[in-house]
């Protein structure tokens, strides 16, 4: 069994990663870290840069856990990719980072977190970034 983490190079993404590491430790399971971009804008702040990925890799290697780093361009939006990957791997848990959103923002852009909660077939752990981060 594995735990799927939706990673974004932002405070909430890093919080999700930390929570996922703890959870994987407790359960003795592997981690599947997913970072995607639809690749249709010139700039996508959710897409991890090579430096970001190297940092994540370093962090995960330190923990000694079994892990897989998965970065892709294309496909559907991040939410659907996370849910689909979890279903494909038969994941035991999905970990995502969430942040405060304005109602207007949610109305216009929709909520990835909500989408994952509704689509996922396994439990979902939602983590907020600590205030100081």
């Amino acid at each position: 069994m594995t735990i799927v983490v939706g990673y974004v190079p932002k405070p909430e993404g890093r919080a999700a990663l930390r929570a996922a590491v703890e959870e994987a430790d407790l359960r003795g399971e592997g981690l599947h870290v997913l970072n995607t971009s639809r690749g249709d804008a010139y700039v996508d702040p959710s897409y991890a840069s090579p430096e970001d990925l190297a940092e994540v890799r370093g962090l995960l290697e330190e923990t000694g856990l079994r892990f897989e780093l998965d970065q892709r361009v294309g496909g559907r939006g991040g939410a659907e990719e996370v849910a689909a990957t979890a279903a494909r791997l038969g994941a035991s848990l999905i970990v995502i980072g969430i942040r405060r959103r304005s109602p207007t923002g949610k109305l216009v852009f929709g909520s990835d977190a909500q989408r994952i909660l509704l689509d996922a077939e396994c439990p979902v752990l939602a983590v907020k970034a600590p205030a100081a981060d």
Binding site: R38, A41, Y42, V43, P50, V73
Partner: protein, 513 residues
């Protein structure tokens, strides 16, 4: 002295709140399209051409001038922070600017680009103010044969210098000239290339061609290669230009202006050539040649100044002779035409209020752009997060609306998308778009002048070369073509050197990613 008074009158017009608002809209829009790669001022002006049906000329031209100048400013932002030039004239800026940003000096690079653009834009506008009326006064004496010579000059230089190779440029020019011929001949009433279709009898509207080739063509082209991974954006970073940055920047600003303005006035292919020349000049003159290729501030300051100075330079032949030397200028000409104004030597007499208000608005636009660009970089960069499908869907809708508004006919829409396919094919196979647009707009003018010259001489074709001015122009054409070839070789050599310089640091980056 009369010119100075007229300029003050122009300021009095351009400073009215209504026109200030149009200038603000223009520079904002211009910066936005400058920031977005692939969407340039020429395309934006083409999309906005239908506005000329409802807006009064002064307001429209103040806005168009703002877009034109704004595009030059905006391009540098993307070059520096994204290493993806928003405009072809910002390619050089990316070389040093992006390295500066990676070294954490992004805000200094942005500042020297913006201030350099302001300095160069203002000085070049002053030069335009001084030079243009004089040239216009001289140009009034030109006869039809002289015009034919000038138009041939414009055709050949634009075709030869813009784009990847002269044959491609000339092929593209041919397409434009052909499209300009479609319709009913004004002199004989004969139908030309209309295929018997009533929809084509009035000719193809310039708006439909320009929007089709620029906007629809670009949208199709982007759609055909949509999936490209996002490019990492370098944050602008904190800090400001240091004392050393200022002292290293001001000379390149002035030198860039001195190089860019004359290059812009020549029909030598718009702003890119000036930036290349300025860059290689700065490299030679710099006291820190070792920094070039690693983020030398001179390499940002000079070319950015040059590209804004040549933007003003391009307006000199446009306003005095009616000769566009870039695609954007060609679209501006068709905007003049849709108001029934023929740009040419008489413009300064017949439309003096409009022209001086336009020139005054260039000064104002420069100030607005400086204010808009320096503190608001963060907002402009956000534009790059818009998914391209949304962006181009909007552009296509706007393009269709604009073309439909020209004549409220569905035939125009069909034509629009056919021409869009043509624009896509030209991009895809490496044919430059600008010569086609120049040919389309100047072709009918050239035909009229040629016929007039031949009618006056009663069919004697030698009149075309025997006028002293025409002879000088043809001689100059030979010189320009040679100069263009030389500049191109020079540019290629600079690029080769740059590739050699860039190869070493780029190697290490690639292995770490």
């Amino acid at each position: 002295m009369g010119d100075f008074g007229a300029l003050l009158d122009g300021f009095a017009t351009a400073l009215q709140p209504m026109y200030l608002l149009y200038a603000l809209i223009g520079v904002t829009l211009g910066t936005a399209v400058g920031v977005l790669p692939g969407i340039g001022p020429a395309m934006t002006l083409a999309l906005l051409l239908p506005l000329t049906y409802s807006l009064e000329p002064t307001a429209a031209f103040i806005m168009f001038a703002g877009i034109y100048y704004g595009g030059m400013y905006g391009g540098s932002t993307t070059s520096i922070l994204l290493n993806a030039p928003g405009e072809s004239s910002s390619i050089i800026t990316a070389l040093e600017g992006n390295r500066m940003a990676k070294a954490g000096r992004g805000s200094a690079a942005l500042a020297t680009a913006a201030i350099g653009s302001f300095v160069a834009g203002t000085i070049a506008t002053v030069a335009l103010t001084l030079v243009a009326p004089t040239i216009a006064r001289l140009a009034v004496q030109l006869g039809p044969a002289d015009y034919v010579a000038l138009l041939v000059l414009a055709f050949l230089t634009v075709a030869a210098v813009l784009g990847s190779s002269p044959p491609r440029g000339i092929a593209s020019l041919g397409i434009g000239l052909f499209l300009g011929l479609v319709g009913t001949d004004t002199l004989t009433g004969q139908q030309r290339f209309t295929l018997g279709l009533p929809a084509l009898a009035d000719g193809i509207d310039v708006v439909v061609v320009a929007v089709g080739v620029f906007a629809v063509g670009e949208a199709l082209y982007v759609a055909s290669r949509l999936r490209r991974g996002p490019i990492p954006l370098v944050p602008a970073g904190k800090g400001w230009m240091t004392k050393q940055d200022w002292s290293r920047s001001w000379k390149p600003w002035l030198r860039g202006t001195a190089i860019g303005f004359p290059i812009g006035t020549l029909p030598a292919g718009g702003a890119e050539v000036g930036t290349f020349l300025s860059y290689s000049a700065e490299r030679k003159l710099s006291k820190h040649p070792e920094e070039f290729g690693k983020g030398a501030i001179e390499g940002v300051a000079g070319p950015e100044a040059a590209n804004n100075a040549s933007a003003a330079g391009v307006l000199v032949p446009l306003l005095t002779l009616g000769l566009p030397t870039s695609a954007t200028a060609a679209i501006l000409i068709s905007a003049f035409q849709s108001y029934g104004i023929q740009p040419g030597p008489l413009l300064f007499q017949d439309e003096s209020a409009l022209i001086w208000a336009l020139i005054a608005s260039l000064y104002i636009g420069n100030v607005l752009l400086l204010v808009l660009n320096l503190p608001l970089v963060g907002i402009w960069v956000k534009l790059l997060q818009i998914p391209r499908p949304y962006l181009y869907a909007g552009i296509l809708t706007f393009a269709a609306l604009g073309s439909y508004s020209v004549g409220a006919s569905t035939e125009d829409l069909v034509l629009l998308f056919l021409l869009g396919l043509l624009g896509w094919a030209m991009r895809n196979f490496g044919f430059p778009i600008a010569p086609a647009v120049v040919g389309l707009i100047l072709g009918p003018i050239a035909e009229e002048q040629l016929r007039r010259a031949l009618a006056i001489s009663q069919g004697d074709a030698t009149v075309l070369v025997t006028s002293p001015f025409a002879a000088v122009v043809y001689a100059a054409l030979v010189v320009f073509l040679f100069l263009g070839w030389w500049l191109r070789r020079r540019q290629a050599r600079t690029e080769a050197e740059l590739a050699a310089v860039a190869a070493t640091p780029a190697e290490s980056e690639r292995s770490s990613s």
